[in-house]
Amino acid sequence: MSADPAIALADVTFAYGPDEPTVLEGVDLAIPRGAVTVIVGASGGGKSTLLSMLNGLIPSFIRGEFSGSIQAAGTDLTTTRTNAVADRIGMVLQDYEAQLFGTSITAEVAFGPENMGVAPAEIDARIDRALALADLDAIDRRRPPASLSGGQKQRLVIAGVAAMQPEVMILDEPTSDLDPAGTEALLAVLQRVQGSSPAVDWAGPETVVMVTHAVEEAIGADHIIMLADGGVAASGPPEVVLRDAAALRAARVGVPPLVTVFDALGIDREALPLRPQAAEQLVAAEGFSYDPTALSAGAPAGTGGDTGTELFALEGVRYAYATDREPVVAVDAVDLQIDRGAFIALVGHNGSGKSTLSKLLHGLLEPAAGSVTLDGAPLASYAASERGRRIGYVFQNPDHQLFAETVRDEVAFGPANFGYSGSELDQRVVAALETVDLLSLADEDPFKLSRGQRQRVALAGVLATEPSCIIFDEPTTGLDATQHGQFMELVGRLNRTEGLTVVMITHDMETVARYAPRTVVMDAGRVVFDGRTRALFADPALLARYQLRAPQVTQLAHRLAPDAPPALSERELITALGGAR
């Protein structure tokens, strides 16, 4: 880290238009050179706006109402066009689908260097390097980007920017759709920060700035900038910013789990551990005793009633996507039984077949071989409307389904399609909105709500049909820590009190550990583990084989008692360490 900052903002104030609210006000900040800086803050708190200033998209591309100065190593970014600094400052925007320009993986990665006028022979070498960095070198390079899984697309966008070999790389939630191994690999690349001559033997950008909601990624950073209320609420190394639990909560940023645990155990702020290793030393130094027998059997959040009544049964299920070359087998030889009232996490790395399997469960896709039964009858024997009424599906992006003028109409769409009308329909809509705590916004335009609220509108629309099972495909992507917590508590409560069966695709291992008593792991289209979540996290060899990563709480528990079933949540760990003081 050197004193001269890579990018510096002075007295920056910005609004998207004369009548729009001020997003940032009087912001002064410096992005340190040769370091990884993470920007944290609530959803809608100006993080993406701030990022757009770091390569001059604001104010040269999005003008808005801007005042202040932005300097990047002697260049005034308020008067320089973004494409003129693109070779020095690379940027990966949040919505990766919209950033793919090529018709093949090769063409996609070559696009940036072509714009820079790099010689074709050199582009060849850059493609090799960028694809290796993004861990995409095992995939056929002629494949069109549209045929990749979500996480693979996200990595391809990163490869495309890496091929431009920028000194500074700016990334807006680059790991939102990556599996745990992919996240770790990407962070390793970004942290392999190089001191000099980036053009020769480029191994990674010199300076990295990224926005993330994942607190573990923030722990790994060199520098943290926390935004709240249109300004910088805190700025400094993780050891300073991330130990202040009260300030983090006030800014709606996730508190590191070990900070929560040891704060509750009465440890002073300066001594709070951020990593399992430090926590283990602290436990020894402070003389805590760890008693794993205090742990309950099920999920810590008390979800997943074992009713023993079968809802779904899958036998030998197979599905393949047609392409111009060989078909790509996405799901193969899957046997699975799901009981009523279960809460199941579906995990596995990008492209392992999770989304395809969930669509087979819903009947959105039909298996090429094998059978799917619902309540004992073949899924295909149900009318589409009956299937839709019994099984709800919450998609990752609520914006793919919102269309109505009011929240009320939006929520009523599903149940009305399934034949409800009049006062019964109204009752269902009101009940669903009450459940997701949006009744007060019933007459608002759904497009004006926050992402977290829009996701809850989508959930309410499914709840209003009173399904016996809801399938969630990464439902918390793009939600901040507070929204994420609220959403998961809601789903957990529905499972506990209403007996709702939940099948949830997620890469978030904290969520898996805390809410799902049972986990199904997929790898290359097959189910490779199906059992108790605690058993999965108790087995490091198994986790390593399928490139999963235990949450920090569980890692610490495992260090303290390698042979005992590990603690899965903060509360469990606190109990096992003798309870809050």
């Binding site: 949040q94 714009n115 006028g117 899984s149």
Partner: protein, 261 residues
């Protein structure tokens, strides 16, 4: 993961390997053959050649997409042309008020085959040429890069649109949306839950796309390099020469009055 939406067929045939410019010249030769003659038996030759090419490059799925248009062309051709033409020759069809003479049938058939040849030729091109090759080919023919890029972007947006539509359709189907059936009014109403999210998604995509283009250093007026092997090879020269030969001979033959009805 999604199915293939783009017209490009990911195969490795000799037609795929041709330079896009040579391909354009070759297909133009088929067009000239179909255009200068009017005898349907003669036009059937380029039409069948184009059909064989589409099938041999794996373009069957593209053919399926346009089959309704092709059928409609023949039907409309038989209805429309006879209205403008003077009857001639023997009567071939006489069903009630519909009377078609030999001349009318021949000309209608010829005109329809001609348009079908154009469509099939176009299909051969889009089935075997990636957007990048097309953009680069146009550039090398001297078309200004901003125009090349606009063409390329339009082609790229097509699969983006279809992909978004597919996701939205699945999301609304899961909510019990029914987009078929009912009166026209009901059908239109049924489309609203699809159209609004698709347009909103597409609109946001275009915004993000334009920002991402800036961030990737794209400058329509600036200089750039082109990655990938795109040189005229021997087979490209051979095809180009042969195509110009065919065009010349065909025009000559047509001027001499051959291939007419």
């Amino acid at each position: 993961m999604s199915q293939a939406y783009a017209p490009f067929v990911d195969r490795d045939t000799i037609v795929h390997r041709l330079d896009p410019r040579a391909k354009l010249v070759g297909i133009s030769a088929l067009f000239v053959l179909a255009y200068v003659f009017s005898n349907p038996l003669v036009i059937a030759v380029p039409a069948l050649m184009a059909l064989a090419l589409v099938l041999s490059v794996g373009g069957y799925r593209n053919l399926r997409r346009v089959r309704v248009i092709v059928l409609a062309l023949f039907v409309v051709g038989f209805v429309v042309w006879p209205v403008f033409l003077a009857p001639g020759g023997a009567v071939l069809v006489a069903v009630g008020p519909v009377v078609l003479t030999e001349r009318e049938v021949y000309i209608a058939l010829g005109r329809s085959l001609r348009i079908v040849t154009f469509i099939l030729g176009g299909l051969v091109f889009v089935s075997t040429t990636t957007t990048e090759e097309l953009v680069r080919g146009l550039r090398q023919l001297g078309v200004p890069y901003p125009i090349c890029f606009a063409v390329g972007t339009a082609l790229r947006l097509f699969p983006t649109f279809i992909g978004a539509a597919g996701t939205v359709r699945q999301a609304q189907a899961a909510r019990g949306a029914d987009v078929g059936g009912g009166s026209i009014r009901e059908r239109l109403r049924g489309f609203i839950p699809l159209l609004i999210p698709v347009f909103m998604t597409a609109f946001r995509n275009i915004q993000t796309q334009s920002m991402a283009l800036e961030a990737r250093g794209f400058d329509p007026m600036g200089g750039r390099s082109f990655y990938g092997d795109l040189r005229f090879q021997r087979r490209d020269w051979l095809l180009t020469l042969a195509s110009f030969g065919v065009m010349g001979l065909a025009t000559l033959a047509a001027v001499q009055g051959l291939g007419r009805i």
